[in-house]
Symmetry: C2
Amino acid sequence: MSSETKHEAKTSLLSEFARVGQALASPLRLELLDLLAQGERSVEQLAETAAARVGNTSAQLQRLRDAGLVAGRRDGTRVYYRLAGDDVAALLAALRATGVAHRAEADRAAAAYLGEDVEQVGREELLARARAGEVTVLDVRPAVEYEAGHIPGAISVPLDQLPARLDEIPDSVLVVAYCRGAYCVFAHDAVRLLHRNRRRARRLEDGFLEWKLAGLPVAGAG
Amino acid sequence: MSSETKHEAKTSLLSEFARVGQALASPLRLELLDLLAQGERSVEQLAETAAARVGNTSAQLQRLRDAGLVAGRRDGTRVYYRLAGDDVAALLAALRATGVAHRAEADRAAAAYLGEDVEQVGREELLARARAGEVTVLDVRPAVEYEAGHIPGAISVPLDQLPARLDEIPDSVLVVAYCRGAYCVFAHDAVRLLHRNRRRARRLEDGFLEWKLAGLPVAGAG
DNA sequence: CTATTATTCAAATAATCCTTAGATATAAGG
DNA sequence: CCTTATATCTAAGGATTATTTGAATAATAG
Protein backbone atom coordinates (compact mmCIF):
# COMPACT_ATOMS: atom_id res chain seq x y z
CA MET A 1 0.00 0.00 0.00
CA SER A 2 1.38 3.42 -0.97
CA SER A 3 1.86 6.11 1.62
CA GLU A 4 -0.88 8.15 -0.01
CA THR A 5 -3.35 5.30 0.02
CA LYS A 6 -2.43 4.50 3.61
CA HIS A 7 -3.12 8.02 4.70
CA GLU A 8 -6.51 7.88 3.01
CA ALA A 9 -7.29 4.56 4.67
CA LYS A 10 -6.36 6.01 8.05
CA THR A 11 -8.50 9.09 7.51
CA SER A 12 -11.47 7.00 6.51
CA LEU A 13 -11.08 4.76 9.56
CA LEU A 14 -10.90 7.81 11.81
CA SER A 15 -13.94 9.25 10.06
CA GLU A 16 -15.83 6.07 10.82
CA PHE A 17 -15.07 6.43 14.50
CA ALA A 18 -15.91 10.13 14.34
CA ARG A 19 -19.34 9.23 13.03
CA VAL A 20 -20.01 7.40 16.28
CA GLY A 21 -18.79 10.43 18.22
CA GLN A 22 -21.05 12.64 16.14
CA ALA A 23 -24.03 10.53 17.13
CA LEU A 24 -23.21 11.33 20.76
CA ALA A 25 -22.97 15.06 20.08
CA SER A 26 -26.59 16.16 20.54
CA PRO A 27 -28.60 16.45 23.79
CA LEU A 28 -31.71 15.01 22.14
CA ARG A 29 -29.88 11.96 20.81
CA LEU A 30 -28.32 11.35 24.23
CA GLU A 31 -31.77 11.50 25.80
CA LEU A 32 -33.09 8.99 23.26
CA LEU A 33 -30.18 6.65 23.96
CA ASP A 34 -30.83 7.01 27.67
CA LEU A 35 -34.46 6.01 27.21
CA LEU A 36 -33.60 3.12 24.91
CA ALA A 37 -31.13 1.82 27.47
CA GLN A 38 -34.23 0.94 29.52
CA GLY A 39 -35.86 -1.13 26.80
CA GLU A 40 -37.35 -0.74 23.35
CA ARG A 41 -39.72 2.12 22.55
CA SER A 42 -41.73 3.35 19.61
CA VAL A 43 -40.92 6.64 17.91
CA GLU A 44 -44.05 8.25 19.31
CA GLN A 45 -43.29 7.17 22.88
CA LEU A 46 -39.76 8.48 22.56
CA ALA A 47 -40.93 11.79 21.12
CA GLU A 48 -43.41 12.33 23.91
CA THR A 49 -40.99 11.48 26.72
CA ALA A 50 -38.23 13.60 25.22
CA ALA A 51 -40.62 16.50 24.52
CA ALA A 52 -39.67 16.58 20.82
CA ARG A 53 -41.59 16.49 17.55
CA VAL A 54 -42.14 13.07 16.07
CA GLY A 55 -40.48 14.07 12.81
CA ASN A 56 -37.38 15.31 14.52
CA THR A 57 -37.26 12.26 16.79
CA SER A 58 -37.46 10.00 13.77
CA ALA A 59 -34.69 11.91 12.01
CA GLN A 60 -32.39 11.67 15.03
CA LEU A 61 -33.11 7.96 15.33
CA GLN A 62 -31.99 7.54 11.72
CA ARG A 63 -28.72 9.20 12.64
CA LEU A 64 -28.28 6.91 15.60
CA ARG A 65 -29.01 3.93 13.40
CA ASP A 66 -26.54 5.08 10.74
CA ALA A 67 -23.94 5.36 13.49
CA GLY A 68 -24.73 1.76 14.51
CA LEU A 69 -25.96 2.67 17.99
CA VAL A 70 -29.61 1.64 17.69
CA ALA A 71 -31.69 -0.81 15.70
CA GLY A 72 -35.37 -0.76 14.86
CA ARG A 73 -38.05 -3.33 14.22
CA ARG A 74 -41.42 -2.68 12.63
CA ASP A 75 -44.58 -4.05 14.22
CA GLY A 76 -47.64 -3.00 12.28
CA THR A 77 -47.65 0.74 11.90
CA ARG A 78 -45.15 1.24 14.68
CA VAL A 79 -41.39 1.00 14.66
CA TYR A 80 -39.73 -0.02 17.90
CA TYR A 81 -36.14 1.04 18.47
CA ARG A 82 -33.61 -0.46 20.85
CA LEU A 83 -29.90 -0.12 21.60
CA ALA A 84 -27.70 -2.09 19.21
CA GLY A 85 -25.97 -3.80 22.14
CA ASP A 86 -24.82 -3.61 25.72
CA ASP A 87 -21.59 -2.01 24.58
CA VAL A 88 -23.62 1.04 23.56
CA ALA A 89 -24.96 1.39 27.09
CA ALA A 90 -21.41 1.03 28.39
CA LEU A 91 -20.21 3.70 25.98
CA LEU A 92 -22.95 6.04 27.18
CA ALA A 93 -22.00 5.41 30.80
CA ALA A 94 -18.32 6.07 30.01
CA LEU A 95 -19.22 9.33 28.28
CA ARG A 96 -21.14 10.59 31.27
CA ALA A 97 -18.49 9.48 33.73
CA THR A 98 -15.79 11.32 31.79
CA GLY A 99 -17.99 14.40 31.57
CA VAL A 100 -18.54 14.78 35.30
CA ALA A 101 -14.98 13.73 36.12
CA HIS A 102 -13.26 16.43 34.10
CA ARG A 103 -15.80 19.19 33.52
CA ALA A 104 -16.77 21.31 36.46
CA GLU A 105 -19.78 22.60 34.48
CA ALA A 106 -21.06 19.06 34.00
CA ASP A 107 -20.67 18.31 37.68
CA ARG A 108 -22.56 21.49 38.58
CA ALA A 109 -25.30 20.73 36.04
CA ALA A 110 -25.69 17.25 37.49
CA ALA A 111 -25.96 18.60 41.03
CA ALA A 112 -28.52 21.21 39.91
CA TYR A 113 -30.63 18.59 38.18
CA LEU A 114 -30.46 15.83 40.77
CA GLY A 115 -30.92 18.13 43.74
CA GLU A 116 -29.71 17.64 47.28
CA ASP A 117 -27.52 14.61 47.89
CA VAL A 118 -29.19 11.47 49.09
CA GLU A 119 -27.68 8.51 50.95
CA GLN A 120 -26.74 5.59 48.72
CA VAL A 121 -26.58 1.82 48.98
CA GLY A 122 -24.00 -0.11 46.97
CA ARG A 123 -25.06 -2.76 44.45
CA GLU A 124 -23.50 -5.72 46.27
CA GLU A 125 -24.84 -4.51 49.59
CA LEU A 126 -28.34 -4.20 48.19
CA LEU A 127 -28.18 -7.67 46.68
CA ALA A 128 -27.15 -9.19 50.02
CA ARG A 129 -29.68 -7.28 52.11
CA ALA A 130 -32.51 -7.91 49.65
CA ARG A 131 -31.83 -11.65 49.80
CA ALA A 132 -31.87 -11.47 53.58
CA GLY A 133 -35.24 -9.70 53.44
CA GLU A 134 -33.86 -6.62 55.21
CA VAL A 135 -34.97 -4.08 52.64
CA THR A 136 -37.83 -3.17 50.31
CA VAL A 137 -36.58 -2.52 46.79
CA LEU A 138 -38.60 0.13 45.01
CA ASP A 139 -38.57 0.68 41.23
CA VAL A 140 -39.80 4.21 40.57
CA ARG A 141 -39.45 4.21 36.77
CA PRO A 142 -42.49 4.26 34.48
CA ALA A 143 -44.29 0.89 34.53
CA VAL A 144 -43.28 0.05 30.97
CA GLU A 145 -39.62 0.17 31.90
CA TYR A 146 -40.18 -2.01 34.95
CA GLU A 147 -41.88 -4.55 32.73
CA ALA A 148 -38.95 -4.56 30.32
CA GLY A 149 -36.63 -5.66 33.11
CA HIS A 150 -36.06 -4.91 36.80
CA ILE A 151 -34.17 -5.93 39.90
CA PRO A 152 -35.57 -9.26 41.23
CA GLY A 153 -37.99 -8.69 44.10
CA ALA A 154 -38.43 -4.99 43.36
CA ILE A 155 -41.95 -3.55 43.50
CA SER A 156 -43.02 -1.07 40.85
CA VAL A 157 -44.36 2.28 42.00
CA PRO A 158 -43.73 4.93 39.35
CA LEU A 159 -42.70 8.24 40.88
CA ASP A 160 -45.88 10.06 39.90
CA GLN A 161 -47.99 7.47 41.74
CA LEU A 162 -45.81 7.35 44.83
CA PRO A 163 -47.65 10.03 46.88
CA ALA A 164 -50.96 8.17 46.45
CA ARG A 165 -49.53 4.73 47.09
CA LEU A 166 -47.38 5.35 50.15
CA ASP A 167 -49.40 2.91 52.21
CA GLU A 168 -48.37 0.03 49.94
CA ILE A 169 -44.81 0.43 51.11
CA PRO A 170 -43.90 -1.32 54.37
CA ASP A 171 -42.65 1.18 56.93
CA SER A 172 -40.81 -1.33 59.08
CA VAL A 173 -37.76 -1.85 56.86
CA LEU A 174 -35.40 0.35 54.87
CA VAL A 175 -36.63 1.32 51.40
CA VAL A 176 -34.07 1.38 48.59
CA ALA A 177 -35.31 3.22 45.51
CA TYR A 178 -33.75 3.07 42.07
CA CYS A 179 -34.43 4.36 38.59
CA ARG A 180 -32.70 4.45 35.23
CA GLY A 181 -29.11 5.29 35.93
CA ALA A 182 -26.59 7.56 37.58
CA TYR A 183 -28.15 10.75 36.20
CA CYS A 184 -31.82 9.83 36.51
CA VAL A 185 -33.65 12.04 38.99
CA PHE A 186 -36.62 9.80 39.88
CA ALA A 187 -34.91 7.89 42.68
CA HIS A 188 -33.54 11.08 44.20
CA ASP A 189 -37.03 12.58 44.23
CA ALA A 190 -38.53 9.38 45.59
CA VAL A 191 -36.11 9.20 48.52
CA ARG A 192 -36.74 12.84 49.42
CA LEU A 193 -40.49 12.28 49.25
CA LEU A 194 -40.24 9.21 51.48
CA HIS A 195 -38.13 11.16 53.97
CA ARG A 196 -40.78 13.87 54.15
CA ASN A 197 -43.21 11.09 55.05
CA ARG A 198 -41.00 9.81 57.85
CA ARG A 199 -39.80 6.69 56.06
CA ARG A 200 -36.29 5.33 56.13
CA ALA A 201 -35.13 5.43 52.52
CA ARG A 202 -31.96 5.44 50.44
CA ARG A 203 -31.06 5.40 46.77
CA LEU A 204 -29.34 2.55 44.96
CA GLU A 205 -25.90 3.55 43.70
CA ASP A 206 -26.33 4.66 40.06
CA GLY A 207 -29.38 2.82 38.67
CA PHE A 208 -30.75 -0.08 36.67
CA LEU A 209 -28.49 0.53 33.67
CA GLU A 210 -25.33 0.13 35.72
CA TRP A 211 -26.85 -2.79 37.66
CA LYS A 212 -27.38 -4.65 34.41
CA LEU A 213 -23.96 -3.71 33.03
CA ALA A 214 -22.40 -5.08 36.24
CA GLY A 215 -23.91 -8.47 35.36
CA LEU A 216 -26.18 -8.61 38.39
CA PRO A 217 -29.45 -10.58 38.24
CA VAL A 218 -32.37 -9.12 36.31
CA ALA A 219 -36.03 -10.18 36.32
CA GLY A 220 -38.66 -9.67 33.64
CA ALA A 221 -38.71 -9.75 29.87
CA GLY A 222 -35.77 -7.37 29.30
CA MET B 1 -38.00 22.93 41.67
CA SER B 2 -40.68 23.74 39.10
CA SER B 3 -41.31 21.47 36.17
CA GLU B 4 -40.04 24.17 33.82
CA THR B 5 -36.85 24.67 35.75
CA LYS B 6 -36.35 20.92 35.96
CA HIS B 7 -36.63 20.54 32.23
CA GLU B 8 -34.06 23.29 31.76
CA ALA B 9 -31.74 21.61 34.25
CA LYS B 10 -32.09 18.32 32.43
CA THR B 11 -31.39 19.91 29.06
CA SER B 12 -28.32 21.65 30.37
CA LEU B 13 -27.01 18.40 31.87
CA LEU B 14 -27.57 16.60 28.58
CA SER B 15 -25.87 19.46 26.78
CA GLU B 16 -22.86 19.05 29.02
CA PHE B 17 -22.60 15.38 28.06
CA ALA B 18 -23.18 16.26 24.42
CA ARG B 19 -20.18 18.57 24.56
CA VAL B 20 -18.00 15.57 25.34
CA GLY B 21 -19.58 13.68 22.44
CA GLN B 22 -18.95 16.66 20.19
CA ALA B 23 -15.27 16.53 21.07
CA LEU B 24 -15.21 12.97 19.74
CA ALA B 25 -16.92 13.95 16.50
CA SER B 26 -13.94 14.93 14.34
CA PRO B 27 -11.33 12.65 12.75
CA LEU B 28 -8.53 15.08 13.56
CA ARG B 29 -9.47 15.32 17.22
CA LEU B 30 -9.67 11.52 17.46
CA GLU B 31 -6.20 11.26 15.98
CA LEU B 32 -4.89 13.78 18.50
CA LEU B 33 -6.46 11.85 21.35
CA ASP B 34 -4.95 8.65 19.98
CA LEU B 35 -1.48 10.21 19.98
CA LEU B 36 -1.92 11.72 23.43
CA ALA B 37 -2.94 8.31 24.77
CA GLN B 38 0.71 7.36 24.24
CA GLY B 39 2.11 10.22 26.30
CA GLU B 40 2.32 13.98 26.27
CA ARG B 41 3.25 15.87 23.12
CA SER B 42 3.78 19.46 22.07
CA VAL B 43 1.41 21.18 19.66
CA GLU B 44 4.03 21.17 16.93
CA GLN B 45 4.74 17.43 17.32
CA LEU B 46 1.04 16.67 17.20
CA ALA B 47 0.52 18.82 14.12
CA GLU B 48 3.35 17.14 12.28
CA THR B 49 2.28 13.59 13.11
CA ALA B 50 -1.35 14.29 12.28
CA ALA B 51 -0.42 16.14 9.07
CA ALA B 52 -2.34 19.27 10.11
CA ARG B 53 -1.53 22.96 10.39
CA VAL B 54 -0.27 24.11 13.75
CA GLY B 55 -3.04 26.69 14.02
CA ASN B 56 -5.76 24.19 13.42
CA THR B 57 -4.14 21.66 15.75
CA SER B 58 -4.05 24.27 18.48
CA ALA B 59 -7.69 25.18 17.88
CA GLN B 60 -8.81 21.55 18.08
CA LEU B 61 -6.77 21.05 21.25
CA GLN B 62 -8.66 23.99 22.79
CA ARG B 63 -11.89 22.20 21.98
CA LEU B 64 -10.65 19.02 23.55
CA ARG B 65 -9.58 20.96 26.60
CA ASP B 66 -12.96 22.71 26.86
CA ALA B 67 -14.58 19.28 26.75
CA GLY B 68 -12.34 18.18 29.61
CA LEU B 69 -10.55 15.48 27.63
CA VAL B 70 -7.01 16.89 27.59
CA ALA B 71 -4.87 19.17 29.72
CA GLY B 72 -1.82 21.22 28.80
CA ARG B 73 1.30 22.42 30.55
CA ARG B 74 3.66 25.10 29.32
CA ASP B 75 7.40 24.50 29.30
CA GLY B 76 9.25 27.47 27.85
CA THR B 77 7.89 28.26 24.44
CA ARG B 78 6.23 24.88 24.12
CA VAL B 79 2.91 23.64 25.46
CA TYR B 80 2.68 19.94 26.15
CA TYR B 81 -0.75 18.34 26.09
CA ARG B 82 -1.82 15.06 27.67
CA LEU B 83 -5.05 13.14 28.26
CA ALA B 84 -7.00 14.36 31.27
CA GLY B 85 -7.11 10.83 32.70
CA ASP B 86 -7.17 7.12 32.06
CA ASP B 87 -10.94 7.25 31.74
CA VAL B 88 -10.47 9.28 28.56
CA ALA B 89 -8.38 6.49 27.04
CA ALA B 90 -11.05 4.01 28.10
CA LEU B 91 -13.75 6.16 26.52
CA LEU B 92 -11.77 6.28 23.28
CA ALA B 93 -11.35 2.49 23.31
CA ALA B 94 -15.09 2.03 23.95
CA LEU B 95 -15.93 4.35 21.06
CA ARG B 96 -13.78 2.37 18.64
CA ALA B 97 -15.05 -0.98 19.89
CA THR B 98 -18.65 0.11 19.40
CA GLY B 99 -17.81 1.44 15.95
CA VAL B 100 -16.39 -1.78 14.61
CA ALA B 101 -18.96 -3.92 16.42
CA HIS B 102 -22.02 -2.31 14.84
CA ARG B 103 -20.89 -0.57 11.70
CA ALA B 104 -19.89 -2.71 8.76
CA GLU B 105 -18.24 0.32 7.14
CA ALA B 106 -16.00 0.79 10.18
CA ASP B 107 -15.03 -2.86 10.15
CA ARG B 108 -14.17 -2.66 6.45
CA ALA B 109 -12.20 0.56 6.94
CA ALA B 110 -10.22 -1.07 9.74
CA ALA B 111 -9.43 -4.12 7.60
CA ALA B 112 -8.37 -1.89 4.70
CA TYR B 113 -6.07 0.15 6.93
CA LEU B 114 -4.53 -2.67 8.96
CA GLY B 115 -4.05 -5.01 6.01
CA GLU B 116 -3.96 -8.77 6.02
CA ASP B 117 -4.71 -10.47 9.32
CA VAL B 118 -1.81 -11.39 11.53
CA GLU B 119 -1.64 -13.99 14.30
CA GLN B 120 -2.11 -12.59 17.78
CA VAL B 121 -0.88 -13.33 21.29
CA GLY B 122 -3.11 -12.55 24.27
CA ARG B 123 -1.97 -10.18 27.00
CA GLU B 124 -1.85 -12.75 29.77
CA GLU B 125 -0.11 -15.27 27.54
CA LEU B 126 2.52 -12.71 26.58
CA LEU B 127 3.11 -11.77 30.19
CA ALA B 128 3.68 -15.41 31.15
CA ARG B 129 5.88 -16.27 28.18
CA ALA B 130 7.92 -13.07 28.51
CA ARG B 131 8.63 -13.88 32.15
CA ALA B 132 9.69 -17.39 31.12
CA GLY B 133 12.07 -15.88 28.55
CA GLU B 134 10.30 -17.64 25.69
CA VAL B 135 9.67 -14.56 23.57
CA THR B 136 11.27 -11.32 22.43
CA VAL B 137 8.92 -8.39 22.96
CA LEU B 138 9.31 -5.71 20.31
CA ASP B 139 8.01 -2.15 20.67
CA VAL B 140 7.73 -0.68 17.17
CA ARG B 141 6.33 2.74 18.13
CA PRO B 142 8.37 5.93 17.73
CA ALA B 143 11.16 6.10 20.33
CA VAL B 144 9.54 8.98 22.21
CA GLU B 145 6.47 6.87 22.94
CA TYR B 146 8.60 3.95 24.12
CA GLU B 147 10.34 6.32 26.50
CA ALA B 148 7.03 7.56 27.87
CA GLY B 149 6.15 4.02 28.93
CA HIS B 150 6.43 0.48 27.57
CA ILE B 151 5.97 -3.18 28.38
CA PRO B 152 8.72 -4.33 30.77
CA GLY B 153 11.52 -6.12 28.91
CA ALA B 154 10.44 -4.84 25.49
CA ILE B 155 13.12 -3.59 23.15
CA SER B 156 12.48 -0.46 21.11
CA VAL B 157 12.88 -0.68 17.36
CA PRO B 158 10.65 1.89 15.65
CA LEU B 159 9.03 0.51 12.53
CA ASP B 160 10.98 2.74 10.15
CA GLN B 161 14.28 1.44 11.56
CA LEU B 162 13.25 -2.21 11.59
CA PRO B 163 14.58 -3.18 8.13
CA ALA B 164 18.05 -1.86 9.01
CA ARG B 165 18.12 -3.38 12.48
CA LEU B 166 16.85 -6.88 11.83
CA ASP B 167 20.10 -8.40 13.05
CA GLU B 168 19.50 -6.97 16.55
CA ILE B 169 16.51 -9.24 16.90
CA PRO B 170 17.23 -12.81 18.05
CA ASP B 171 15.99 -15.33 15.49
CA SER B 172 15.81 -18.27 17.89
CA VAL B 173 12.62 -17.28 19.74
CA LEU B 174 9.19 -16.00 18.80
CA VAL B 175 8.98 -12.22 18.35
CA VAL B 176 5.85 -10.46 19.64
CA ALA B 177 5.46 -6.95 18.27
CA TYR B 178 3.13 -4.28 19.63
CA CYS B 179 2.32 -0.66 19.01
CA ARG B 180 -0.23 1.91 20.18
CA GLY B 181 -3.54 0.12 20.23
CA ALA B 182 -6.08 -2.02 18.47
CA TYR B 183 -6.16 0.19 15.38
CA CYS B 184 -2.48 1.05 15.11
CA VAL B 185 -0.89 -0.35 11.99
CA PHE B 186 2.78 -0.45 13.03
CA ALA B 187 2.71 -3.88 14.67
CA HIS B 188 0.82 -5.40 11.73
CA ASP B 189 3.43 -4.03 9.35
CA ALA B 190 6.27 -5.18 11.60
CA VAL B 191 5.00 -8.76 11.80
CA ARG B 192 4.57 -8.94 8.03
CA LEU B 193 8.07 -7.56 7.54
CA LEU B 194 9.53 -10.10 9.96
CA HIS B 195 7.69 -12.92 8.18
CA ARG B 196 9.21 -11.85 4.87
CA ASN B 197 12.58 -12.18 6.56
CA ARG B 198 11.83 -15.71 7.77
CA ARG B 199 11.32 -14.82 11.41
CA ARG B 200 8.65 -16.26 13.66
CA ALA B 201 6.55 -13.28 14.69
CA ARG B 202 3.11 -12.42 16.05
CA ARG B 203 1.28 -9.33 17.16
CA LEU B 204 0.20 -8.55 20.71
CA GLU B 205 -3.58 -8.44 21.04
CA ASP B 206 -4.63 -4.76 20.70
CA GLY B 207 -1.65 -2.66 21.86
CA PHE B 208 -0.01 -0.65 24.61
CA LEU B 209 -3.10 1.45 25.37
CA GLU B 210 -5.20 -1.59 26.18
CA TRP B 211 -2.29 -3.23 28.04
CA LYS B 212 -2.10 -0.22 30.35
CA LEU B 213 -5.88 -0.01 30.74
CA ALA B 214 -5.90 -3.70 31.75
CA GLY B 215 -3.66 -2.75 34.67
CA LEU B 216 -0.70 -4.83 33.49
CA PRO B 217 2.86 -3.80 34.41
CA VAL B 218 4.42 -0.82 32.66
CA ALA B 219 8.06 0.29 32.61
CA GLY B 220 9.48 3.76 31.97
CA ALA B 221 8.44 7.27 32.86
CA GLY B 222 4.86 7.10 31.59
C1' DC C 1 15.51 42.68 19.81
C1' DT C 2 15.00 38.22 17.35
C1' DA C 3 13.69 33.50 16.89
C1' DT C 4 10.57 29.99 18.23
C1' DT C 5 6.19 28.20 19.56
C1' DA C 6 1.42 28.67 20.40
C1' DT C 7 -2.92 31.08 20.21
C1' DT C 8 -6.38 33.95 18.21
C1' DC C 9 -8.96 36.40 14.54
C1' DA C 10 -11.52 37.08 10.27
C1' DA C 11 -13.51 35.03 6.43
C1' DA C 12 -14.97 31.26 3.44
C1' DT C 13 -16.97 26.89 3.26
C1' DA C 14 -19.49 23.21 4.98
C1' DA C 15 -22.32 20.77 8.22
C1' DT C 16 -25.98 20.52 11.71
C1' DC C 17 -30.53 21.27 13.99
C1' DC C 18 -35.22 22.07 14.10
C1' DT C 19 -39.65 23.10 11.99
C1' DT C 20 -43.25 22.72 8.61
C1' DA C 21 -45.34 20.14 5.33
C1' DG C 22 -45.89 16.46 2.46
C1' DA C 23 -44.79 11.47 1.28
C1' DT C 24 -44.79 6.56 2.52
C1' DA C 25 -46.09 2.25 4.91
C1' DT C 26 -49.37 -0.59 7.31
C1' DA C 27 -53.92 -2.14 9.14
C1' DA C 28 -58.75 -2.32 9.10
C1' DG C 29 -63.36 -1.63 7.01
C1' DG C 30 -66.39 -1.40 3.32
C1' DC D 1 -59.62 -2.80 -4.52
C1' DC D 2 -60.32 1.65 -2.44
C1' DT D 3 -60.69 4.61 1.46
C1' DT D 4 -59.42 6.12 6.08
C1' DA D 5 -56.69 6.37 10.12
C1' DT D 6 -52.34 5.90 12.35
C1' DA D 7 -47.44 5.95 12.61
C1' DT D 8 -43.16 6.89 10.55
C1' DC D 9 -40.10 8.85 7.26
C1' DT D 10 -38.22 12.45 4.23
C1' DA D 11 -37.49 17.01 1.83
C1' DA D 12 -36.87 21.97 1.92
C1' DG D 13 -35.75 26.17 4.25
C1' DG D 14 -33.56 29.17 7.62
C1' DA D 15 -30.86 29.87 11.78
C1' DT D 16 -26.94 28.33 14.00
C1' DT D 17 -22.57 26.26 14.60
C1' DA D 18 -18.19 23.81 13.01
C1' DT D 19 -13.93 23.35 10.23
C1' DT D 20 -10.14 25.10 7.93
C1' DT D 21 -6.89 28.55 6.09
C1' DG D 22 -3.87 32.48 6.22
C1' DA D 23 -2.38 36.25 8.78
C1' DA D 24 -1.89 38.74 13.00
C1' DT D 25 -0.96 38.55 17.94
C1' DA D 26 0.93 36.74 22.38
C1' DA D 27 4.36 34.33 25.28
C1' DT D 28 8.91 32.93 26.20
C1' DA D 29 14.10 32.13 25.68
C1' DG D 30 18.40 33.79 24.60
